[in-house]
Amino acid sequence: MSEPNLNAPSLELRGLTLRYEGQALFEGLDLTVKAGRFTALLGASGVGKTSLLRIAAGLAVPDAGGVQAGDGQKLAGRVAWMGQQDLLYPWVRALENVTIGSKLRGERADKPRALALLAAVGLAGRERALPKELSGGMRQRVALARTLYENRPIVLMDEPFSALDAITRAAMQELAAKLLAGRTCLLITHDPLEACRLSHSLYVMAGRPARLGPEIAVPGHPPREPDDEALLHKQGELLRALLEASGV
């Protein structure tokens, strides 16, 4: 399923500062998410990853700093966001969940496109199912189709697969990497394997106030095979780095 005319810009986070109850979660944080690439942000729970992503999505306001698109145009309307849960609305069927953005904006739903996207995520024939009739993995597929339906050049993902079992998660990672290729993606995760499989480059976020480590490039192209030797080596390295950063 190829989407025409993406022209994905880079996403630039500049000098972000966020304080929570007097303590700085991060201070003057800079990050460039490269255009059309998959970037992963890796860190322990509570380090401020979700807050950072929410700022990038326009859902939270930083105490200082800002977020821009690399092409100088406005960000509004060009960013899609995937949360930790699938966030399907239980009162509408799978198809209407995919096109929910149109409905929320008061536009006409593009039903044929939504059906094609559901087929692309492997849910052909399930468009009439209610969310409660779908498994966790299927629901996450609908959420992915919904993200694709929005057709935004920038996609932000907040551990969207963390609630899935290992096998379903691996399948979803492959699907996401394939279908989101060409977009500027920022994925935050606490799973080194997920970060290594999906990203062109990744960063480790640690400390308080949190800082980003140097860019780490993973050899090869995503989605990498789960038994790829370079990937497994990298994953081990990363886990060690994360453990050291957490001071255990």
């Binding site: 859902l59 509004a76 899609a80 904006r105």
Partner: protein, 247 residues
């Protein structure tokens, strides 16, 4: 099958208990008539009783409809505007702080012996559980659903109508179930305070004339109506909220 059988067993058990107490406890008939006598009265005076039951049913159903509508709109108004909420919340509490019992004679005095005073009483009893439950549901929307809608470019109004309202419907349903169960209170109280027809009026008169069997017959009819009303509301809600995970 079990859903029909279980209440039936409970009903038969209660009837048996009632019969045994009336038969063997040595309580005189004018204090506690047995089920048989009450059934006789029900049969003998069915025209009179049904006619009065219909009056009460109309009061209850009108009260439930208007109370639900009013309660729902009140909750929406309070969520829509913080300013309105600050004005309405104290009024809401006040409406429940004044006992309905104390209001009944006043309402009859103002609105007369007819339908209006009873319906208003029923509305006063019914709207509160609906408002309270719905308002609560509207304020507790899953934050992720709101975030998602916002990143998709939904306006505040669209979020309220298409997300928060829908998400609050199960809570609204819970309030409505309570309202259906307590709905007869207002109508009966209104009839006690002053009426010329209705089951409450029948009971009051029968009580004054020591016609205990007639009182019980009216009571049985009232309980039956309340249960049927609740079941009807429950069936409709289950149909409308079939999407909810816990329905």
């Amino acid at each position: 099958m079990k859903t029909v059988l279980r209440p039936l067993v409970t009903l038969l058990g209660l009837l048996g208990l009632w019969w045994a107490v009336a038969r063997f406890a040595g309580i005189p008939d004018f204090l506690l008539p047995g089920p048989g006598e009450v059934a006789q009265v029900l049969a003998a005076q069915r025209g009179f009783l049904l006619q009065n039951a219909l009056v009460t049913l109309v009061e209850i159903v009108l009260g439930l409809g208007l109370g639900t509508l009013f309660g729902g709109l009140l909750a929406l108004a309070m969520v829509f505007s913080r300013g309105l909420q600050r004005w309405l919340l104290p009024l809401l509490l006040l409406s429940q702080a004044v006992p309905v019992f104390a209001l009944a004679p006043l309402l009859v005095l103002w609105l007369g012996f007819g339908l209006a005073s009873k319906v208003l009483m029923a509305v006063l009893v019914i709207f509160f559980p609906v408002t309270a439950a719905f308002y609560d549901g509207l304020r507790r929307t899953e934050p992720g659903w709101l975030d998602l809608a916002r990143t998709m470019g939904a306006s505040n109004f669209s979020v309220l109508v298409r997300v928060r309202l829908m998400a609050a419907l199960p809570a609204f349903g819970a309030g409505l179930r309570i309202a259906a169960a307590v709905a007869p209170i207002g109508a009966i109280l209104g009839e006690w305070a002053g009426a010329s027809e209705g089951l409450g009026y029948v009971m009051l008169n029968a009580n004054a004339r020591m016609q205990t069997s007639l009182m019980f017959a009216a009571l049985v009819l009232l309980a039956g109506m309340t249960i049927l009303l609740w079941v009807a509301v429950d069936v409709v809600l289950k149909k409308l909220l079939h999407w909810a995970p816990d329905m």
